[in-house]
């Protein structure tokens, strides 16, 4: 792709960021939260997409990293008196270490075996958070003292989202990303053509772990109370996957579009149909997987609106 094209895309992202930065002052508290959580899901879907979309290792356990970030924030703020912003870096670091520890063995598995192992890893993390009383306050959860105006968390999430988009964009348009794609398409061939798949997968996995951890930390400080079931909630993983799939996994725009569309729809429906929205969610997964496996971006590519491939 031409340099001018990258600059144009970057300028567009910058304009969106400025608009989002000016937005919250005119919004009600509810709408401000709504935008914040939409941005959070953009981060989660894009991060999930690094390992599951670009690299083809579908993870059903990414909520583990989100939960780790949330706990890092809550513990360090309440028990150690850290400033909450500083806890975000700590959360990311812990997620990176746990990411290596989980990723190294689990990335040897493929397809459904990897997906299920990740589901197990996330459950394991939740159990640890529940039983390790002395560190996590166990099942009681943690309430945080707050001086929160909801502006700080909003801007933190905005910065995180822009950063995540920039990283995802760079991966998507680099030869590093092309090699992740090669692993997704045919790992044996990729290895035979010089790609150290073990290393690449691990780097992709750790990258995809770090951003949800920071999002989890911001979210924890936003809602001020966390417990294991709420931050290791399997539905968060499902949302990441579904948003990416709906928009088009393996692309940069897809997960963003998917997150905005799905979170908005969800917010509109659950107000009116509190239980039915979960059923609708399940049904939606089936329909997307069956009729639109490559998502909206796949559709756009088939229609000729978007070029094939990421590197041109």
């Amino acid at each position: 792709m031409k340099r001018a094209e990258h600059l144009r895309n970057l300028a567009f992202l910058g304009a969106c960021a400025v608009a989002l930065a000016l937005l919250p002052h005119g919004l009600s508290l509810y709408l401000r939260s709504f935008v914040l959580f939409t941005m959070m899901y953009v981060v989660l879907a894009l991060a999930w997409n690094i390992i599951s979309g670009f690299t083809g290792y579908t993870s059903f356990g990414h909520v583990a990293f989100y939960g780790i970030g949330a706990y890092a924030c809550a513990i360090l703020v309440t028990d150690y008196g850290w400033h909450w912003i500083a806890t975000l870096g700590a959360g990311a670091a812990v997620a990176a270490v746990v990411g290596v520890a989980i990723g190294y063995p689990v990335l040897r598995l493929k397809g459904p075996y990897f997906a299920i192992a990740m589901l197990g890893a996330a459950e394991g993390t939740r159990v640890v958070a529940t039983v390790w009383d002395s560190l996590t306050h166990g099942g009681l959860g943690i309430s945080m003292p707050s001086a929160e105006t909801s502006m700080e968390t909003y801007y933190a999430m905005l910065v995180l989202m822009v950063l995540t988009i920039v990283v995802a964009y760079w991966i998507g348009h680099s030869r590093f990303g092309v090699r992740l794609n090669a692993i997704r398409e045919d790992e044996v061939a990729a290895e035979a053509l010089g790609v150290n798949a073990t290393l690449y997968k691990l780097v992709a996995f750790v990258l995809s772990a770090v951003f949800p951890a920071v999002a989890g930390g911001i979210q924890a400080y936003k809602v001020l109370y966390i417990d294991p079931p709420s931050v290791f909630f399997v539905q968060i993983t499902i949302a990441m996957a579904l948003m990416s799939m709906l928009g088009g996994k393996g692309t940069v725009i897809g997960p963003i579009v998917g997150a905005v569309l799905l979170y908005t729809t969800q917010e509109l429906t659950w107000v009116n149909f509190p239980t039915a929205h979960l059923i609708a969610y399940g049904l939606f997964i089936v329909l997307v997987a069956r009729f639109m496996p490559r998502g909206l971006m796949g559709l756009a590519i088939d229609q000729g609106w978007v070029r094939k491939g990421m590197v041109h």
Binding site: R175, V178, V188, A192, G194, N196, G250, K308, G309, V311
Partner: protein, 243 residues
């Protein structure tokens, strides 16, 4: 002047590989002459592809050595062997289906090569196999013959010294095949070493200088085409014992 390079670029020494009770390669030895086109033939199931997999690290041998430029490669990972200058294609093409032709090419080069250089090389090779008009098309949408060409071009991205081709002629029409053979001879002229596994005897007999024949996991004969065609053991391996 450094020491004169060995006349053999690669040497397999007593390679063995068994899958369960099946001894796919059972003590196979041969030496690949430098800068020439060699052929590896044998009946179905004689261990040719397994041998290729042993040479390129896709499998590691139960015993034996693969000596490349004086170094034993046995036990190295495929990407390590690739980076030493050995590349290959596959019997059944393994192109990246949901990546464009250009992306297929760019996935190969080392990241230390600048982007611009990698692109120039990729475009040049895509042109070399006449796929320029399809550069932005998904690999999976190419015809089988075009996929073979793409795989061939992709294998050349890093300017390898030794090129192993597993059945390059299978499923490729005559015109395309002639085109491919021209490329192979051009590589030979550049000083590359090429080893071809092939069932098409026209390709083997007309284009290889040296032929290795395998049967039941061992090399049963070796020599120039004219000699191999008359070799009793080879005829027997293919057609059974003469009455």
């Amino acid at each position: 002047m450094g020491p004169r390079p060995d006349q053999n670029v690669l040497e397999a020494r007593n390679l063995k590989k068994a899958f369960g009770g099946v001894r796919a390669v059972d003590g196979c030895s041969f030496a690949v002459p430098r800068g020439k086109i060699s052929g590896l033939i044998g009946p179905n199931g004689s261990g040719k592809t397994t041998t290729f997999n042993l040479l390129t690290g896709l499998l590691s041998p139960d015993s034996g050595q693969v000596i490349y430029e004086g170094e034993n490669l046995a036990g190295l990972r495929p990407y390590q062997i690739f980076r030493k200058g050995i590349t290959r294609t596959f019997q059944i093409t393994r192109i990246f289906r949901e990546m464009t032709v250009l992306e297929n090419m760019l996935s190969v080069t080392g990241l230390d090569v600048p982007d611009r250089v990698a692109r120039e090389r990729a475009e040049e090779l895509i042109g070399f196999v006449n796929l320029t008009h399809l550069r932005a098309e998904y690999g999976g949408r190419l015809s089988y013959g075009q996929q073979k060409l793409l795989e061939f071009a992709r294998a050349l991205m890093t300017d390898p010294a030794l090129i192993l081709l597993d059945e390059p002629a299978a499923g490729v029409n005559r015109t395309l095949l002639q085109h491919l053979l021209d490329h192979i001879h051009r590589l030979e002229a550049e000083g590359k070493t090429i080893v071809i596994v092939e069932h098409d005897m026209n390709v083997i007999m007309n284009h290889c200088e040296r032929i290795f024949v395998m049967d039941y996991g061992v090399k049963i004969a070796e020599g120039p085409p004219a000699e191999i065609q008359r070799d009793e053991r080879v005829i027997e391996a293919y057609f059974g014992r003469r009455r």
